[in-house]
Subunit: 373 residues, 4 copies
């Protein structure tokens, strides 16, 4: 009965751009971007950010079984962009974002990189360097293990040098970090680099969007609202990334397996990772303050804050806030990291890494301030 | 016991700007903005938007009893901007936003306009043209009734011509619309202009942020969550604006008082206004489709959509979505409008009107796409 | 990896019961209850209420494809009851509750009533008296139209006399009302009986549990949270019940079709129905007060309240709150009704009607006070 | 403008009661209960539970500055009970519940017990046995330190023997546990009694109602929704109770201070306490299963469950669910406890303890099953 009114598409003008070329871009003014898996939540966020990116242009959105559907069918809020889904894999792009289930992108990437495309893989297929971790944590044999060594773990705060200019090298593969590891590693990196982590308990809380868009029985509003629960007990897959990267900063830290417990809380976005650290030696608050201030003074997206941050303080932005405390009563150090799981924990981080790969300003397209309340 | 770490402020770079002068701006590259009442929710949204505006620069944030406090004390999410609150009224600004309780700004505006400052009043003091409406609906005698006739009701979709270039005229006062009237008037304007509205019931639903930041007993999370209630029964103040503007479009519409019922729903942002219209004559869906398409085809922020919109589809953006249906069973026309109450319903609308006043591109600083999920 | 610990079932003792027999019960101390469709939300609420009912005993819980599964598999919160699902239809019961999709129970009921079982149908198959309404509103031809005339619409406040002792008659079929009609009809009944309703707009808001347990794409937490939307535009199925029952109270009221608009709001439980009435003649607040006070003075579950009620005030209880206001400005009467959609709007109402059918105290098993905050 | 309708109070009949006297009650059929601080959230829950308690009768509700106000003024959902607030301290009661800020009840209790009244103190004033803990954790000198030794910590699962029949002894003071300690101690007690706890990190999550009813700036819906944050870093007051009771079960456990970190999550009710334990020796899952099964097999309100419980599984009930897992990868034991903070974490626990004190059935008045979804 409902009358069907044709949507008046209103394509609001993009911000003015500086069209000077960059070495990695060659003569082209904007990098051409393709997004595979555009119909999920990470895909939607990539569209939201890249549609307003001053140096990028979305040229292809790929979605299975949705050929020729307007973007409004899956992302109603983005209907005004006028984009249309295409079931064919994007070609003639400078960079391709893959937002796919684990085990899928690794079958596509060898061909993509052979054509010189830079790959930003949002899933786990190129995060881990040890091929044996894939059957162990994800249940599949990696089909392209030879590419793992050269793939870069896309956390700019840890691997900026490797990411910079990567688009001009071969193969150009970024394994974009998981949401929990991002919040956790940014909280722990300054301690890990100093070799200060002895015992470690990570207790993390996530909004529901991290579980993806697929409707599952325990993801309905009625089940999630007014409820908190732990899950992934005994070994969530993100442990593998966390242990790998901590070991990369402090070889001795890998001696003890990480105790990581995630929780689902009734909110859509946001991750808070509480890291309970027993330090190798006594540390003072003043020492911690200096350590963290120095570590993040020049980081555009990491803020060290003096009061315990809430996830809402970074909602919708690419920011991470970190709060560190020495507790003289227990002798422990507590570090808390908060991010928006879909931005700094996924799409925004991918864009940040892409900017580095193409020698663009690191903050391009990521200038949005957090949305609160 | 909590260790206090100094906040490492990270001021991310603003987007590149086009510094060509406009007639209304004279030679200045960016308009200088002051915000009075910067510590409330509307104030926070103004900062969020204007901090990234390519042609504006925040030069003063005023807050009572918070002199010299960093902005992070009241708007933690905006701590990275490095702004500081000032208890003195802003001077040497091109435009001043007033986000104050009713009855306050009307005491300040005469002096402000006498100095040539353009005033964007976010409260109701300059929305109503009839001075008698102030004692009736707001309980105070207007202290500057002579200014009401020249103040412009700041809904660009209804009063664009009056707003354009207003900064160069005297007095330059914009009474920025209330949140409910914005969603309602954009839903009804095409019908009203055609004189099609006979009987009218407006049933609206709002998120909690519309009630402001002040902690009140019935605004705590525990009271609001899992609960819906109606309020303002018998005459919410926004009725006055709605009736005034409807009458402006269709003198005959003012014959019958508007039945307007607002509800509080458990969400932070968003307004949905459901307008049940008994039309003066039978109208078909095809006629409505054409009417609304024509009305909003060129509007940058209003989208006519073919499926009932949710408030989340416009969250964090300056967009309004409108959906119109003829119901042959009842003979009524239903029109639904949704907005983000703090953006198109307040701060964003104020920026949009400011852009018009200064002959800037209407969408400047408002390019953000909606944030979903 | 997760360690599996066997659940220690703790069956807390039921409240003391009075085992005197009632005429309708014969010699049996407790009525034997079967629930078909026990795995859905209404099924779960029926278990919650009947498990503590002093005069009833659950003897069979039926669920398709879940044979022999402990109840904890589908209703984790009820695991302590120790119940087990059975795929066979219950037999040897006094009363059977059917919580099934529309079009299903009508194929089962003829056989059930032929065995003398009292049927409480929670779906729509026995709510409407006119067989032609089923193809029109539900898209199926009713397979047992001859039973519709004798089925009782199970709203005790309207049909108490017909429900009382029904268990001893043939056929004993109760069509338990929908959630929206319950809130709406209790709000409107006093006006309807007086023939006072002229024009009528019903604008209702519901929590998500009303949509059932099935995970659907637009029912996930991420989609529902921070969002309001209208749906069922142009004719929600519950219109049929509302029009039927209003006509039953006031034949002239049926002249105009009901304008009914439901909304989905971000909460799990609760319905608020706002009824905007243009009365046939002028009515005063004093008249309305007396009318409603008289109508509901002896009703155990309906409270007429002097301030606009929130849905939370009845959460988890079988209560309905009604608030009525005359608006001299518009000449309209506004009536608001709130209920818990799963209790007074479904399971609780079914238990209340069952109590009447078996001549039990109407409040038996429904004594729980609302749960707030 | 709103019409004021007098509320038609509907006092639904209480469940049938068994009026046999108990030794502790003497000849009286029901114990007479007074509630001091009846207008807060714990007060409201006490009314909700005791109003339906088969062996208790509320005879006085005390609230400061609200003399003669109907209960509906503060607890709208309880308006139907018809209770009225009284500003005078209750007299002629068998038991008095004190739901007051810390430091207040300790000034009232000496007089109350001198009259033979049994005191259920819901605040912290009689939870700690060491008077020195009050200045340290709560900032006040205890005014009646001589009563601390005889006060009983009201966690029935730990101190049932001391609580049983306490009403007949002098002084009869129960210090009802805090919400976090309840969930935590029930999770840890079986391990503590075996001396198995070496290192311990407690990471807890609470709904907002635990912060009480007072409207505070960071407790509004707009601030809490879509946000998680940690608080009480460096030493939340509940640490004192947790350490005291753990030491009572295992003297060696007190060697290391407890690392306890609470979080505020966007929900109204519920606590989840995740206890990360490094055991003194290796333990198997089978050993843990047996240990917990044995510990709680006869407990009416504690369920050991095989899948990680959500807080919603106990909402509105006096139940606690506990889940224990050995993690061979890390060598740690994880124990999770969930409760409704206002029921098992406050009012329900107080009623349970009261039942024991008066030799009533422990579950009396607490039979309600959890409310889900």
């Amino acid at each position: 009965m409902t009358g069907i009114v044709s949507v008046a598409m209103t394509r609001t003008a993009a911000v003015p751009v500086d069209d000077r070329s960059s070495p990695a871009l060659g003569d082209r003014a904007r990098i051409r971007v393709g997004i595979v898996g555009a119909t999920g939540y990470v895909g939607g966020e990539l569209i939201r950010l890249l549609e307003r990116h001053p140096r990028a242009r979305i040229v292809a959105l790929h979605g299975r079984e949705r050929d020729r559907e307007p973007i409004a069918s899956t992302h109603a809020h983005l209907g005004g962009t006028g984009h249309v889904i295409d079931a064919r894999m994007p070609t003639d792009v400078d960079v391709i974002f893959l937002a796919l289930p684990h085990g899928t992108s690794s079958t596509l990437v060898p061909d993509l990189v052979s054509h010189g495309t830079t790959v930003m893989d949002m899933g786990p297929d190129f995060r881990l360097r040890d091929p044996a971790d894939y059957p162990r944590w994800y249940g599949f044999e990696h089909p392209a293990p030879e590419l793992l060594a050269s793939a870069v773990y896309g956390l700019p705060e840890l691997h900026r040098a490797q990411l910079s200019g990567l688009a001009g090298r071969f193969p150009a593969i970024v394994g974009s970090p998981g949401c929990y590891p991002t919040a956790t590693l940014l909280a722990l990196a300054p301690l890990a680099r100093e070799g200060l982590i002895d015992d470690l308990v990570i207790d993390a809380k996530s909004g529901v969007s991290g579980a993806g868009r697929e409707p599952k029985p325990d993801m309905t509003y009625s089940e999630v609202n007014e409820s908190v629960k732990a899950y992934g007990i005994g070994g969530h897959r993100h442990v593998a990334e966390i242990e790998q990267e901590l070991a990369g900063m402090d070889a001795t830290a890998s001696a003890r397996p990480v105790d990581f417990l995630p929780h689902l809380v009734p909110m859509t976005r946001g991750i808070l990772s509480a890291c309970h650290v027993r330090p190798r030696r006594e540390v003072t608050q003043a020492e911690l303050d200096a350590l963290y201030r120095d570590a993040y003074a020049d980081e555009p997206f990491v803020e060290v804050v003096g009061t315990p941050p809430s996830t809402k303080q970074v909602l919708g932005s690419n920011h991470c806030r970190v709060h560190v405390t020495a507790d003289p009563r227990t002798g422990r150090v507590l570090v808390i990291g908060v991010i928006d799981n879909l931005v700094k924990g996924a799409a925004g981080q991918g864009v940040q890494a892409m900017n580095l790969c193409f020698d663009l300003p690191e903050e391009a397209g990521l200038e949005q301030l957090p949305l609160a309340p």
